[in-house]
C-alpha cells in the first residue's frame, strides 16, 4: 500500500539529454515497426522534420513519461520510494499539457512530485491511488510539458 507520508514529496531534480537515437528507438516501438525506414521521417530525418514545421527532431507526445524509468532506480526504485506494491500496480490515467515541443538534443530538467494519495472503495475492492505531477523544463528555462500520472494499486 502506498506510503501516505509521501504525499507532497518532491523527487530529486533529474536532468537528462534527449538523445536522437532514443527518439528513433521509441518511435519504432510505438509505430510497431522494426526499423527507422518504416516510421514517420520526422522522427529520424531533421530535414523532413523541418519541412513538417518542427525546429528539430521532435519527441513523440508520450515520450516524456519515459523519464520516470530512467532515474531513481527505475520503476522498481521509484515504486519502492512510494511504498507501492509492484505486483498490484496499474497505470490508470495520464494527462499531458503541452506548452512547447521537446527536440533531440534538448537538455531537460524533470521536476516530479506526489500531489495526491487516496483510497477508494471498500473491503476487498479497495484501490490505492497515487497521483504524480511532473514538469519538464528545457535548457532555456521553458516549461515544455506538464503531466499528471495516476497510478493504482488494485
Amino acid at each position: 500500500m502506498a506510503d501516505k507520508s509521501k504525499l507532497g514529496m518532491e523527487f530529486p531534480v533529474y536532468t537528462f539529454t534527449i538523445e536522437k537515437d532514443k527518439i528513433v528507438e521509441f518511435a519504432i516501438a510505438i509505430s510497431q515497426k522494426d526499423s527507422r525506414e518504416e516510421i514517420n521521417p520526422i522522427y529520424y530525418d531533421e530535414e523532413a522534420a523541418k519541412k513538417a514545421g518542427y525546429q528539430g527532431i521532435p519527441a513523440p507526445p508520450t515520450f516524456a513519461t519515459s523519464s520516470f524509468f530512467w532515474t531513481g532506480g527505475g520503476l522498481i526504485g521509484t515504486v519502492k520510494t512510494l511504498g507501492i506494491d509492484l505486483n498490484k500496480l496499474l497505470d490508470r490515467e495520464e494527462e499531458y499539457e503541452y506548452y512547447g515541443s521537446i527536440y533531440a538534443g534538448d537538455v531537460i530538467t524533470r521536476k516530479m512530485k506526489v500531489v495526491d494519495m487516496y483510497r477508494k472503495g471498500k473491503g476487498k475492492r479497495t484501490i490505492d491511488v497515487t497521483v504524480l505531477e511532473t514538469e519538464l523544463i528545457n535548457q532555456r528555462g521553458e516549461l515544455v510539458v506538464k503531466y499528471r500520472s495516476t497510478l493504482m494499486e488494485i
Binding site: A29, N40, T62, T65, F69, L90, E95, Y96
Partner: protein, 149 residues
C-alpha cells in the same frame, strides 16, 4: 493536404486508425525503448506468480499508439492537451492461436470533434477519443485539444 482550422467542424471524425496486431515482441521493444521493465509485460513466470493468465501491453504503449493516430491527423506540434484513462488490459496475440487471439490484440482508434474554442490567443478544438480492440472492448478513453493554422 494539410488540415486547416476552418476545415474542422463539431461532429467531424478523425480518420479511424487500426494498429498492427500487438505481439509480445512489440511489448519487449516498448519495454526497452521506454525503460518500463515491469515484468507484467513480458515475463510469463511473473504472470503465473501473481495469478494472472497472460502478459499485458503497457497502457502507455496503447496511449502512444493513439498519439501516433492523432499525429497522422493533426501533427504533434499542434497538440496542446492529451488525456487518457485506461479501461481494460490488452493481451498480445498468441502465435499458436492467431485466429482466436488477433482481434483482442488489434487496437482501433477513433475520435470526434466536440468543441471549438479560443484559449491563450489560439484557435483550438477538442476531440473525444477512444481506443478499443477488434472485439469491441474499450481500452482507453480520453480527449485531446489541438490548434491548427
Amino acid at each position: 493536404m494539410a488540415l486547416n482550422y476552418n476545415d474542422i467542424e463539431i461532429g467531424n471524425e478523425m480518420p479511424v486508425f487500426t494498429s498492427a496486431t500487438i505481439t509480445r515482441t512489440h511489448l519487449v521493444r516498448y519495454a526497452g525503448a521506454s525503460g518500463d521493465f515491469n515484468p507484467l509485460h513480458y515475463d510469463q513466470t511473473f504472470i503465473k506468480a501473481i495469478g494472472m493468465k497472460n502478459v499485458i501491453a503497457h497502457g502507455m504503449l496503447i496511449m502512444a499508439i493513439v498519439g501516433e493516430a492523432i499525429n497522422s491527423w493533426v501533427g504533434n506540434k499542434y497538440l496542446r492537451k492529451f488525456s487518457a484513462r485506461f479501461l481494460s488490459m490488452t493481451e498480445p496475440v498468441d502465435w499458436d492461436d492467431i485466429e482466436n487471439t488477433k482481434d483482442r490484440a488489434t487496437i482501433i482508434v477513433s475520435a470526434k470533434v466536440v468543441k471549438k474554442f479560443e484559449e491563450n490567443g489560439e484557435k483550438r478544438f477538442q476531440c473525444d477519443i477512444t481506443a478499443q480492440d477488434a472485439l469491441g472492448s474499450k481500452k482507453l478513453s480520453g480527449f485531446f485539444t489541438a490548434t491548427l493554422p
